[in-house]
């Protein structure tokens, strides 16, 4: 019963995440390269969190998320350079546009699942990118540059402050998703993935919930794109590609889908393997990730989260045995 309450179980991972974030920021210091990596980590995490909910809860795998991230990024770019409005307006517009697109796409693909949904959303993401490249008002293949630096009233955040903000946003959204997961709505949503028929019988419309989750996820992914464009002050049409979606999919599985925190673990691994590590310089980063995903699926399907949870349970088990020997029947 206690585990259904939203409060306590969310606090611990959140505190850990905050501590980890603080440590990462300490490590980064003022080093621009390290801050870039953390910015990429925040971006990947946000796109990952966006893909997480529909994937982990409704078992609905849409690959349109590169489009949503691109919408977020381009909204910031267009609002800032063409509408001369503050950058943060672009964030809001981007999220709203992404939701609209997700709604339309969701409605068009309402009854599709599994491989069919993957194929359609992949085709959509490809077509969307083709459109971005050909759209002259969006800078066509050059994209849009000279996005104004973010300013919130009188405050002009530094590069470091931006990254701190991005990471904080990641943690906040993860907390939000975690609470949602444990709320009564979240329970129904998660049941969708397991027993859609049962959910329908309870009077809830399955496709409707799936679309809502996709819209949610789209907004989060758009925020990821907006963050990236704000951080580097520019965007190109080939920055958020279908390759990125597969990368995110793989690191989500790797991190574990039992909770949103897996997305953060996965994103960190992805940044390390595909951007930072010299060890895998011959393109092996993505290869290693793909292989790791296979291994995870075959051996440890709950991902890293699951592995570590298991380890902890095994460590706790002897205590349980001891308790039973003592005759402590209340355990």
């Amino acid at each position: 019963m206690k585990s259904l309450l939203p409060r306590a179980p969310t606090t611990a991972p959140a505190l850990i995440a905050v501590a980890a974030g603080a440590l990462l920021l300490l490590w980064a210091g003022g080093n621009a390269y390290n801050l870039s990596l953390l910015g990429l980590l925040a971006t990947y995490s946000l796109v990952g969190l966006g893909m997480y909910a529909p994937l982990a809860w409704a078992g609905s795998m849409s690959l349109a998320f590169s489009a949503y991230a691109a919408i977020g990024a381009y909204s910031v770019a267009v609002i800032s350079t063409k509408a001369d409005a503050p950058v943060w307006v672009g964030w809001i517009v981007g999220a709203a546009l992404a939701v609209v697109v997700a709604l339309i796409l969701g409605a068009a693909t309402m009854r599709l699942t599994g491989f069919h949904l993957v194929a359609i959303t992949l085709l959509f993401a490809t077509a969307f990118q083709t459109w971005l490249v050909s759209a002259n008002w969006l800078g066509s293949s050059n994209g849009i540059g000279q996005i104004a630096a973010l300013s919130l009233g009188w405050w002009h955040p530094s590069a470091r402050a931006l990254v701190i903000g991005g990471l904080a946003l990641v943690v906040l959204i993860a907390i939000g998703l975690d609470r949602l997961r444990r709320s009564s709505w979240g329970v129904i949503a998660r049941a969708l993935g397991q027993a859609p028929l049962a959910v329908e019988c309870c009077g809830t419309r399955v496709p409707r919930i799936t679309i809502v989750m996709q819209c949610f996820g789209a907004a989060i992914a758009a925020i990821g794109g907006s963050f990236f464009a704000t951080d580097v002050q520019g965007i190109t049409p080939v920055t958020f590609t279908t390759d990125l979606v597969f990368l995110v999919l793989f690191f989500l599985i790797l991190g574990g889908t039992s909770s949103p925190w897996g997305a953060l673990i996965g994103a960190a691994i992805a940044v390390e393997l595909t951007v930072r590590a010299t060890f895998f310089a011959s393109g092996g980063g993505l290869l290693l990730l793909a292989l790791a995903v296979l291994v995870v699926l075959l051996i440890a399907p709950s991902g890293i989260l699951g592995l570590l949870g298991d380890a902890r349970r095994r460590l706790a088990a002897p205590a349980g045995r001891r308790a039973r020997l003592r005759g402590d029947v209340t355990r």
Binding site: G114, F115, T130, T242, L287, L294, L297, L298, P301
Partner: protein, 291 residues
């Protein structure tokens, strides 16, 4: 549209997409899911053949045979290591198998890029000859190769499925695995053979098609996607379903080029998928496309 060359191209494209779709169908019959990795089997076979011929001076046929064997081995390995384990671990839900084959596709493509290089390689025709003129059109070695493989593959698979014990066993396994096992059918062996044949079909298709204009390490996903579309559009109701679907896809591609422009092909493919998935989800030759 009256230009015979256009129709020859439609046939060639259609046969290639259809062959990849057939490779999917063989896997689908045995396991009930779509093995996206067939795109990478085709790619590896084509790339390896080219690489052996141009970098190591092999003759076309020895290189081809070696490459096909490698592709079949990859396919068999997929069934043994990936499919069986996934099915054992995850009783329902397509997501794990979907992610697994996607990861496999990427892994194989990356390894192919590392081993064979990241250059686009020209393909090797089965047999070289100067293009045969047919009226105002030409039959290139590539066209003959792709269509030839298609004829052999589709005819071979449908005849085998209908007349041999293996074919019946495959159908049975696809329909109800547990019942087949109880009846004493060698489920594991049947599926393994089905996957190996799927690898064979994909490999030959890739090699034949790449002689049209080459192959590179990153085409796997695109070939996989088009083959999947061919199968879904054509339907799994008949072994010739993918061929029907493939030719329809090829036809639409040519029409779009003729009357619109190359850029719109991406939009057209999305459109076709939306239309078919919405109105004919079971494809043109229907029987339930088991998900």
């Amino acid at each position: 549209m009256t230009d015979p060359q256009v129709w020859i191209s439609i046939l060639e494209q259609g046969c290639f997409y259809g062959l990849i779709g057939l490779a999917y169908l063989l896997g689908l019959e045995g396991t009930g899911f779509f093995n996206f990795a067939v795109g990478s089997y085709a790619l590896v076979a084509a790339l390896m053949t080219s690489w052996l011929v141009s970098e190591h001076g092999y003759g076309v046929w020895p290189a081809l045979i070696l490459a096909v064997l490698v592709a079949m081995a990859l396919a068999a390995l997929t069934e043994l290591a990936v499919v069986r384990t996934i099915e054992a671990k995850f009783q329902h839900g397509e997501l794990p198998s979907l992610v697994a084959v996607a990861a496999l596709l990427f892994a194989i493509s990356q390894v192919a890029g590392m081993v064979f290089g990241r250059v686009t390689m020209p393909g090797e025709p089965f047999y070289s000859f100067t293009p045969i003129a047919v009226g105002s059109a030409y039959l290139t070695p590539a066209v003959v190769g792709v269509v030839g493989v298609a004829v052999v593959a589709f005819a071979g698979v449908s005849i085998t499925a209908r007349t041999t014990a293996f074919g019946r066993a495959l159908r049975a396994v696809g329909d109800n695995k547990e019942a087949s096992r109880i009846l004493g059918l060698p489920v594991g062996r049947v599926r393994l053979i089905a996957f190996a044949v799927s690898g064979l079909v994909a490999a030959l298709a890739g090699i034949a098609y790449s002689s049209q204009a080459g192959v590179s390490w990153d085409v796997g996903l695109q070939w996989a996607l088009l083959g999947f579309l061919a199968l879904v559009v054509g339907g799994a109701g008949s072994w010739f379903g993918p061929l029907v679907g493939g030719i329809l896809l090829g036809f639409v591609q040519e029409i779009i080029e003729l009357y619109a422009g190359g850029q719109d092909v991406d939009y057209a493919m999305l459109g076709i998928a939306l239309v078919f998935f919405a109105f004919w989800p079971k494809g043109l030759t229907s029987r339930a496309v088991r998900a």
